[in-house]
Symmetry: C2
Subunit: 190 residues, 2 copies
């Protein structure tokens, strides 16, 4: 399992251009975000304002057909034109987690069309999901998105649609952190 660590503070290759707390407790402000895959126990940087951890794990709801379609359509992370990013930590209610697997799947997809909605924004919006709940973290998921600046309105539209679904009535903490890649500084010509 690859663990990703997202440290908000004064260092990192992503500049924070906005932090919106949609529900639940906010996170302290941070100027930059450092994204790393550190060794267990390592720290990202000196004194970050906050650190969120998550692992890339197995698929929890998608069917074989949906996974194939996602793989066929989606773009990878790190595209040069994808200079904007978003980190959206989410926590769901105890009522959500006490549901059985078929009950959660029914709300997630048959009712709320989570995967189907996300699919409409591929390949413009690239995405990686990190699971945090079993790690005892304050959020259950950390979703990372990368897109070109001109696709920001489409990304906002996608979030608006998802946030009005039945699934989102089970979200009790959500923070929307918008980021811009820090340009690589060229060394001065000799």
């Amino acid at each position: 399992m690859t663990e990703y660590r997202f440290a908000g503070g004064s260092g990192g290759e992503w500049r924070v251009i906005g932090m919106t707390c949609l529900c639940g407790a906010a996170l302290p402000p941070a100027a930059k975000l450092d994204v790393t895959t550190p060794a267990p126990g390592a720290t990202n940087e000196a004194n970050p304002a906050w650190v969120l951890r998550g692992v890339v794990s197995n698929v929890r709801y998608a069917t074989g057909r949906e996974v194939s379609e996602l793989r066929r359509r989606q773009a990878g992370l790190g595209r040069p034109e994808a200079r904007h990013a978003a980190l959206i930590p989410i926590r769901k209610t105890p009522a959500w987690w006490s549901l059985a697997q078929d009950e959660r799947r029914a709300i997630f997809e048959e009712t709320s069309r989570h995967t189907a909605i996300g699919m409409e924004y591929l390949p413009a919006v690239a995405r990686r999901l990190h699971h945090s709940r079993d790690l005892g973290e304050p959020f259950d998921f950390l979703t990372w998105f990368e897109f070109a600046p001109e696709d920001s309105p489409a990304f906002d539209h996608m979030l608006t649609r998802l946030r009005t679904t039945a699934e989102w009535t089970y979200v009790d903490r959500e923070i929307d952190i918008r980021l811009e890649r820090v340009p690589v500084t060229q060394p001065p010509a000799p």
Copy 2:
């Protein structure tokens, strides 16, 4: 998330009466097992031979109907007559984890009848499942069972049935640790 820690060593309230490695690498021998729910970073005891960690998490495959039936039939842990226990750490193959949710569910229940088989042994065999995969542990699951000594043959029969299912072709490491509760020592009469 409650994290449970299982430490094999010289201390604890369970005496190891057998350790069988069914596939994959064995664990070092241990005389006793210490089961705790420690604070993060705490250690169970001085120098255990091994420590396995897992969290009680949400249901991954069971339907609402199956969860209701399990809750109706199952006994709790800690019954005085349940003086025998088993800890069975299991790891599944990368091929299993790369399957989509519906594909894993189909093998788990529609083909292998995992929940249905386990249900037949309720309430004699009490059970608690711990998830370890997202924690980066060497096993994916740690299952804890408690039963009366006279129910040992039924417990063995259940395991034999499960181990011959299609689901078990995806298991690449499994250790069967059998335990007996250490009698509480009475202080000598004054």
